[in-house]
């Protein structure tokens, strides 16, 4: 009796349930194939470089290139020697500071410009607003590797060469177009009535922006900030071109300059430098990942 009940009940449930069409995916073996296996492959591909970086940074020098005597995917004698070299025998802390200064400076500049541009394009309804939006997007399509030669002339003319301001003032050429588009998308999700209501309540345009729009666009602002900051942090070609003194350099350029002697790559220190350099970004992402995702998927709240 109970056997019969057990046999019939699932089909009865399935027939009553309108979502039956997809429920065959729910069983464990199927989930293994459709979900967990692809996920683990992607995870492996994504995480392996990080593992390799971390592993290399703690390998002693004699194990770095030795594929025969030791397992290349593991180390038997972990060492912090490379980190010691990095922190105490080079200008690494200074480079980190330079990078931070440049990244924050350029990011803040870009965000302020982008907020004003995006708000004006989306909400002020001026003649040619759409055209301006399109033009900004076109600017985003110009690759930095084309721009850096004319920009270097400009940098020289203004006497900014070898100063952090050379970077702070040129990075926005890459950052502003993208963050303007990101913020335009975000501002569009804020109901127009809120602004009209504030207008009737007696707010000026400036008050509407600072007291209504910006507080509501915080997730968008955070993701624009993370995006800009990451790009500045990793930027290589402008930093390589516009800076020459070792103590002025940013991390990506400096470690390449410092730890590559001709054709000798000091992999341990290179990887230690890369690892230490990526930590601030990891921390940044960890704190704001939810906002980042919600802004990218255009979540509307109210």
């Amino acid at each position: 009796m109970t056997d019969i009940l057990h046999k019939t009940s699932p089909s009865v449930v399935a027939a009553a349930d309108h979502s039956e069409g997809m429920s065959y995916l729910e069983s464990l073996p199927r989930r293994l194939i459709t979900l967990y296996l692809p996920l683990s492959v992607i995870l492996l591909v994504l995480l392996f470089p990080f593992y390799w970086m971390a592993l290399t940074s703690i390998k002693p020098d004699d194990q770095l290139l030795d594929m025969d005597k030791v397992n290349p995917f593991w180390t038997t004698a972990p060492t912090l020697k490379h980190f010691y070299t990095l922190l105490f025998q080079t200008n690494y802390p200074l480079w980190l500071w330079n990078t931070m200064f440049v990244a924050i400076g350029a990011t803040i500049l870009s965000i302020i410009a982008s907020v004003l541009a995006a708000y004006a394009i989306v909400r002020l309804r001026f003649r040619g607003a759409n055209w301006v939006g399109g033009a900004i997007f076109l600017a985003y399509l110009v690759p930095p590797s084309i721009l850096f030669i004319p920009l270097s002339t400009v940098v020289f003319q203004y006497g900014l060469f070898d100063s952090p301001f050379a970077l702070i003032l040129t990075y926005p050429t890459i950052l502003i177009p993208f963050s303007t588009w990101l913020l335009m998308g975000y501002f569009k999700t804020i109901p127009y009535e809120l602004e009209e209501c504030a207008l009737i309540d007696g707010a000026s345009r400036w008050q509407i922006m600072t007291r209504i729009v910006l507080p509501l666009a915080v997730p968008g602002l955070i993701s624009a900030f993370i995006f800009c900051f990451t790009l500045c942090w990793n930027e290589f070609i402008y930093a390589l071109t516009f800076l020459s003194t070792t103590s002025h350099k940013t991390v990506p350029v400096a470690i390449v300059n410092e730890f590559v002697d001709g054709d000798i790559y000091r992999w341990g220190s290179l990887m230690a430098g890369a690892l230490a350099g990526s930590l601030p970004l990891v921390i940044l992402y960890a704190f704001f990942v939810e906002h980042y995702v919600s802004a990218m998927t255009g979540a509307v709240k109210e």
Binding site: E193, L194, L199, I200, G202, Q207, L216, E302
Partner: protein, 355 residues
Amino acid sequence: MASVEIREARKAFGAVEVLHGVNVSIEDGQFVVLVGPSGCGKSTLLRMIAGLENITSGEIIIGNRVVNKLPPKARDVAMVFQNYALYPHMTVADNMAFSMKLKKAPKKEIDDRVQRAAAILGLEPLLGRYPRQLSGGQRQRVAMGRAIVRDPQVFLFDEPLSNLDAKLRVQMRTEIKELHQRLKTTTVYVTHDQIEAMTMADKIVVMHDGIVEQIGSPLELYDRPANLFVAGFIGSPAMNFFNGRIAMNGKAAFETTGGVELPLPGRPANASGQPAIYGVRPEHFTLSDDGAPGEVVVVEPTGSEIQVFAKIGGQDVTAVFRERHNFKPGDKIRLKPDPRLVHLFDAPTGKRLNT
């Protein structure tokens, strides 16, 4: 509080004119409802009063000031939006205090006013909450609270009840009307729902395709619609219309195109054979042996009344009875319109013929 005067107001978006010269005068303290189907220009007119749309030509006067060129904040009006437009990042109290804070009013005064408005609307326990933590009806009330706090000269409502469920809508309707009776602030209220218009208004402005069709009290509009549009728009179930002409043979009667003769109260002068439209409200039919013969199609009892859908001379007709007649589909009945309560409209222009 103030009167509102709209004179020859026109509005064009590019080459398209959506308001073709609207004249409305609203007395101090009146509750005026702008009603009409979607796209008739009622919301545009409201937004022009608020200052959210500019005025292409004509004048809008609030109190004694022509406000055409004034920005919204200088007009001293408060508006309640259809989707409430509460600031999601502010608490209920902050939402209500926002306009006062912008005016840099003293904190004590702001608190007093917010408390008073909250008391009127029963919002005291919700002052610390955020809009997302409120139900639809509560949000609606906060939106009204925000308007009350400002103590404006004119309240503007833009379809404030259309996001609520049917039961709540009826409740809020009463609440808004009660609020108006208490505060006596001049109110302009936009809706597409004629029941809302009928129940709430001191004066209804019926709009259609950018013009005003008729202005009057709810019962004036119901009893004496000025044209075919108003007659069909006001009243639910809608008025029945018969195409046809005034009888040739000198009798005070109307002949439908289906060959049915319907009674008229008197005979319009020189009207023999004139094509016209005959209107009768569903509740103005009685069962009578000398009525027009018809056949019952569907019967819908609602409890308090019975709606009967029938065919007379091949035309669909709705009749409403308070008595519980036991009709069945297919039954032959004779329906007689009350001649004192019928409406006669000119066929080409749609204008009312009988006085």
